[in-house]
Symmetry: C2
Subunit: 327 residues, 2 copies
Amino acid sequence: MNLLAIGNALVDVLAHADDAFIAANGLDKGSMRLVDEAEADRLYGVMGPGVESSGGSAANTAVGVVSLGGSAQFVGRVRDDTLGQVFTHDIRAAGVVFECAPAPTGPPTGRCLVLVSPDAERTMSTFLGAASHLVPADVDPAAVAAAEITYLEGYLWDPSEAKEAFRKAMAAAHDAAGRVAFSLSDAFCVDRFRPEFVDLIDSGHVDILFANQAELCSLFEVDDLEVALKQLGQRVPIAAITVGAAGSVVVSADGVERVAARVLGGVVDTTGAGDLFAAGFLYGLTHGHDLTRCADLGSLAAAEIISHVGSRPEQSLRDLAVEAGLL
Amino acid sequence: MNLLAIGNALVDVLAHADDAFIAANGLDKGSMRLVDEAEADRLYGVMGPGVESSGGSAANTAVGVVSLGGSAQFVGRVRDDTLGQVFTHDIRAAGVVFECAPAPTGPPTGRCLVLVSPDAERTMSTFLGAASHLVPADVDPAAVAAAEITYLEGYLWDPSEAKEAFRKAMAAAHDAAGRVAFSLSDAFCVDRFRPEFVDLIDSGHVDILFANQAELCSLFEVDDLEVALKQLGQRVPIAAITVGAAGSVVVSADGVERVAARVLGGVVDTTGAGDLFAAGFLYGLTHGHDLTRCADLGSLAAAEIISHVGSRPEQSLRDLAVEAGLL
């Protein structure tokens, strides 16, 4: 298995919303906030018509790896309800191994209300529901050992038992000589767990770090990307930092390299851009490509996802990569 | 109220599928077939990852009329389950009046499994579920009387009680000096009810008839559109026949007029093209536009819907129509 991804099993509910609506509902444009079921219901009640599409950051990454021709397993929690069936169907139909049994009791399957602005930025309100009940027992050390890379989303650092599950997975991966990839997920998420994230990095638990510019700057509490990159230095073996339309910056023992973004049609909805960048990068890494090619595969996968509404690929990423001469 | 639309309350589950998959599952490409819950579950189990989006033919038309700036009410049946909540939220959030209480018992909310081919054609398998339980009591004569046009989808001719509800609505509309619009919906649907549909038309129950080329040809059991148009003649006051990329043909006392299609970006998914054509046409008719302009508004609304996956507009149709100089 190329990738074992552990994260929140969520169904996205995507709707268009203008800046006035974002402001009137007290949301920080471009961010992710956690909400309880009552607030999720309230916001759903006032937001526009939606489209439901399976999501979840690490789950999107797993789907992207398979769409490129790799293999992936996803670990995350749903309930035995309609949205849980939708999530399960979609991830399996995409070719990802997903073996977690749906919970027969407890909160409903989690959902992420995604408001897409006219400028294609997305603002997310997530009710984690069943996803937050991930426990260490959900992590099978044998499955982790069978994967080249174990990928964890920072979003799941919020529930404390899930955090323990992450620590267990990290230990199992390193015991089996696998690598651990970690995504900082969101600047506000970094803000909540800064010391823990820095400790994870400095204690050698993370081999591959994914972040966007805002998240890396938040991690080191600086405003300038160059300063943040300097702070990051060689603290992780590989770091891939996305910088929006400017593409990405890859930091490794080989130095700092900048790779351009790719464009496929217009920019309609940036939901999932970071997740799919990670998918392309990790596919490349597990298939013997150099870091520049890895980042370029990430750019291509991200370009596909932002060209339409939703965070799962609508075209075969492998076909696109072959067409672009990357595979 | 400009429009009272009565039809199947459905949530679409849209997935990409190639021709081999369509054939392997015994489906007629481009058609709609009714399936039971077991077959819907089987097909869902083997089809690719999906996107859920509220649909239903007449419901899509109602949403289109409101998106153009008109007013519309929808009558159709859902259950009190997750998909029923999704349908209810989406149609109300789109500005359509929807007052039917969800059924507390009986079959679940209906769904339409839509397989979108690489050439943008769609093939539908519909489990009507709660939608088929529409009964005459669901039709409020006062609501019908308050609408300028009552719009009925041929798809609902399958359940016999729903048919009675349709007859009640037609009578109420004419009692109140309103007009009745009827869509033939699907060539196979026409095949099931040909004598009844011809009788509806010839007995003066239909003032405005919508059909595509295949449906009109099926109605008169001929292969050639021109022959079908001759057969249609003046049997209904207004007929609007869509002919795909060739646009539409409007037949009225003023003669036969051909109106070109419109293009907005590429053709991604033809789901809802006929529904949105009807929306544009009916908006025009209830706002004093001539028949050519009505058909042109229909072309514009259809062009928007086929430019993306799903059968509800992603942009304001009014903005598009103003931009195009039609409003």
